[in-house]
Symmetry: C2
Subunit: 334 residues, 2 copies
């Protein structure tokens, strides 16, 4: 029901995915609104069903208050249906805080996971995995602002398991974000996590990375506390916007620059698609017994369809089971 | 004696500055090496003198060990001379850690300063102050990794006083870096500092900024703990390098792109100068009773000359006295 493009984008995404006859989609929300949109779409009814929810959370609502006041909110009903086995994973483009809270109310935290993490992908120079994926994963980006060493270690395993499955990258390079490459650099919890990750046989731990290494893509999975991860992710967004502003300025100010931009248009389009990355795929919440993919609020149909495919890939590959298994081994060693 | 361009760059900078007959420069280092370089330069001997120091710290030396083993190291002698009144401020392009440590050994921390800060400027979209300065100030960028609320409040005052003097910006907009704009967003120490800064009559406190606001330049002075500041600053460096790599890629790969880049060359040159910002001016250490300007290791003569001029401007305007005065008022109120 949420997202900047409303129920329409979600319904169109589900309709289009149903035609592939690969993923079954259960739409949760206002039956009348969903049906109205479905009548305008081609879809395969054997891969698409609807579960009515009479309430919804608005994009700007206070998460806790909205969930308390709306027990039949679509995001709460969706999380409950997943926890009951009616579906395997949850996808939403709605209110982020309310989504995470709804998961916390209905999903279970996996054994060995001190805190859940919100992960995000961002574009880098380096390509990785079987798909030559230009995206690296960073976690946490805001679910847990301060993290102790146990939490950072768990995040490293969760991120590695996700990247291995989604980017088809069997040994993703995992790194801790710090203020220097040396093992003794960083806040005390980072130094402690480094020491434990360095002797972890289940991870391809490449040590610390610095800010300068993030756009280069030196690591495939960057582990950091939610405060720093949030600042970093939003900064990447700000820089993309600044580049667009600069191009606009060049276009307006000189005929030669305008001509130059026109000749570079193929490259700029590639760059624009890359810097528009936040629309595609979505951000997983990791550490629960079920997967939740948070699609960006601005998501188009295509972006939501991508999020559904990412969720399917993660479920098919047994992501949550893999995280649980790795973390139980970490727990039994420490 | 340090810096990637060695003693030559420092001597050429001092020689050139002496000809303006405005700033007296005291060069500290190996007398023979300095004299050899001076013989090749034009300079005004009444504005330039040399103090011999028989030892020096290398760029990659361990700071503490190097200072302990070399009591006559040029950076230690320079800091001592400033503390004794032989000069008013210290400038170096040498080993950063050794420079900070040398200051800590010879300078006094100002009353009301819990910890000293390393500040840095970075380019933004917005211009500010009488000089239409495109640079914002961020502190701390690595001297104090974790900061409590007292320290963040002191950094806000130190940064504001510096920006007011160096950018000729009488009411610089000061902000805390956080994971949301609301006053209650962030780690506990950030929330506590926000509450105190919001009712501080000496500051133009504009609240929290997020990562997305950094390249836009929403604040003139960004206050953050050294861990996050270090990550942010190095990320800006990494992104500049990525832009250069992308342009190089475009140049190699398509004739039309090469022609487009050629037509845009004026704009790209402007951008390159801006992204080359780390070479210019230098990073001040704030909170001591004397000013230290750390010029980048890569500094050319021109960059070191700029650092000398920035140091002079700060001294002429009574920067350290102003910081001491503001912080004594903060202390007496709290």
């Amino acid at each position: 029901m949420g997202g900047d493009h409303g129920v329409g984008a979600a319904v169109r995404a589900a309709a289009s995915v149903s035609l592939d006859r690969d993923i079954g989609v259960l739409l949760v929300g206002d039956q009348a609104e969903i049906d109205a949109e479905l009548r305008r779409q081609r879809y395969d009814a054997s891969y698409l069903s609807v579960h009515h929810a009479s309430q919804a959370v608005g994009m700007c609502d206070n998460p806790r208050a909205a969930l308390d006041a709306h027990p039949d909110a679509s995001i709460l009903v969706g999380a409950r249906l997943v926890s009951e086995g009616a579906a395997d994973a949850l996808v939403s483009a709605g209110n982020t805080g309310a989504s995470i809270l709804a998961c916390a109310r209905h999903f279970k935290t996996l054994p060995g996971v001190p805190r859940t993490a919100l992960a995000a992908v961002y574009p880098t120079e380096r390509k990785r995995g079987a798909h030559h994926d230009p995206f690296a994963l960073i976690l946490d980006v805001g679910a847990t602002l301060h993290c102790d060493a146990d939490t950072l270690v768990a995040f490293a395993h969760m991120g590695s398991a996700y990247a291995a499955r989604i980017s088809r990258n069997p040994r993703p390079r995992v790194a801790l974000l710090s203020n220097g490459e040396e093992a003794n650099k960083g806040l005390p919890e980072i130094v402690a996590a480094h020491e434990r990750l360095a002797r972890d046989p289940h991870l391809n731990f490449v040590g610390n990375v610095e800010g300068v290494d993030l756009p280069r893509g030196k690591a495939d999975v960057v582990v950091t506390a939610g405060f720093t991860g949030n600042v970093v992710l939003k900064m990447l967004e700000g820089i993309s916007e600044t580049v667009v502003d600069l191009a606009r300025y060049a276009y307006r100010n000189k005929l030669a620059w305008r001509a130059g931009l026109w000749m570079l248009r193929g490259g700029i389009l590639q760059l624009k698609q890359l810097t528009d990355w936040r629309q595609y795929g979505g951000a997983p919440i990791l550490g629960f017994d079920h997967l939740f993919i948070k699609a960006h609020g601005r998501s188009s149909d295509r972006a939501i369809a991508n999020a559904l495919k990412v969720a399917n890939k993660a479920v098919q590959s047994g992501l949550c089971e893999q995280i649980a298994e790795q973390l139980s081994e970490v727990g039994s060693r420490s």
